[in-house]
């Protein structure tokens, strides 16, 4: 079945350093979404990418969707302690309405 893989599983950075997490799907995705889950919390929607090669920015966060719509990345510039949490990508395959396939997440720790 369809799988979504994320790397790395964990990342420890010094505050101010950059951070990137990568997401790869075994099949072409119709769209990809990114969620953030704080420790002890629940996933919160960050952004959705739909078009091949799409790039979106939210302040220090940059999201990319690959040309083949099988991979995506999230890049955080100059991390802050408020960025701590687990970042999940989640994809929808063609014909799979309403079902999101989540990656296993990348947990970010930021040392002040």
């Amino acid at each position: 079945g369809q799988q979504v893989m994320q790397i790395p599983q964990y990342q420890h950075v010094q505050e101010g350093e950059d951070f990137t997490t990568y997401c790869n799907s075994s099949t072409t995705l119709s769209n990809i979404q990114w969620y953030k889950q704080r420790p002890g919390g629940h996933p919160v929607f960050l952004i959705q990418l739909v078009k091949s090669g799409e790039v979106k920015k939210q302040k220090r966060l940059t999201f990319q969707f690959g040309e083949a719509k099988k991979n995506s990345s999230l890049h955080i510039t100059a991390t802050q302690t408020t960025d701590v949490g687990t970042y999940f990508c989640a994809g929808t395959g063609s014909g799979n309405t309403g079902k999101l396939i989540f990656g296993q997440g990348t947990t970010l720790q930021v040392k002040p």
């Binding site: 119709s30 979404q33 929607f45 739909v50 799979n96 309403g98 079902k99 989540f102």
Partner: protein, 114 residues
């Protein structure tokens, strides 16, 4: 406006017992989805309901069942609980049933099976 509300927030059961988890979606949202999140992993899709009809089912055994009521709230039932059912059960609502819709998650129900 209230977000997605789930109850109970925490519960402890023993193997073989049955559990019912409840979810109220955001007002105006007609789609409810259930996800299971085991510690250290991403959420796994269990069910999606839209307008009281099942629209999708994940790879879970028949011990798992759900339904959606006329007011769009939903229940997830799990029978014959196993230790491996211990997890955070997340309910998410969205306006439509399309996979392109953004999910708003509730805080979850944390189930511990002893």
């Amino acid at each position: 406006d209230a977000g997605v509300t789930q109850s109970p927030t925490h519960l402890i059961k023993t193997r073989g017992q049955h559990v019912t988890l409840r979810c109220s979606p955001i007002s105006g949202h007609k789609s409810v989805s259930w996800y299971q999140q085991v510690l250290g992993q991403g959420p796994q899709f269990i069910f999606q309901y839209y307008e009281k009809e099942e629209r999708g089912r994940g790879n879970f055994p028949d011990r798992f069942s759900a339904r959606q009521f006329p007011n769009y709230s939903s229940e997830l039932n799990v029978n014959a609980l196993l230790l491996g059912d211990s997890a955070l059960y997340l309910c998410a609502s969205s306006f439509r049933d399309s996979g392109a819709n953004v999910l708003t998650f509730g805080a979850g129900s944390r189930l511990t099976v002893l």
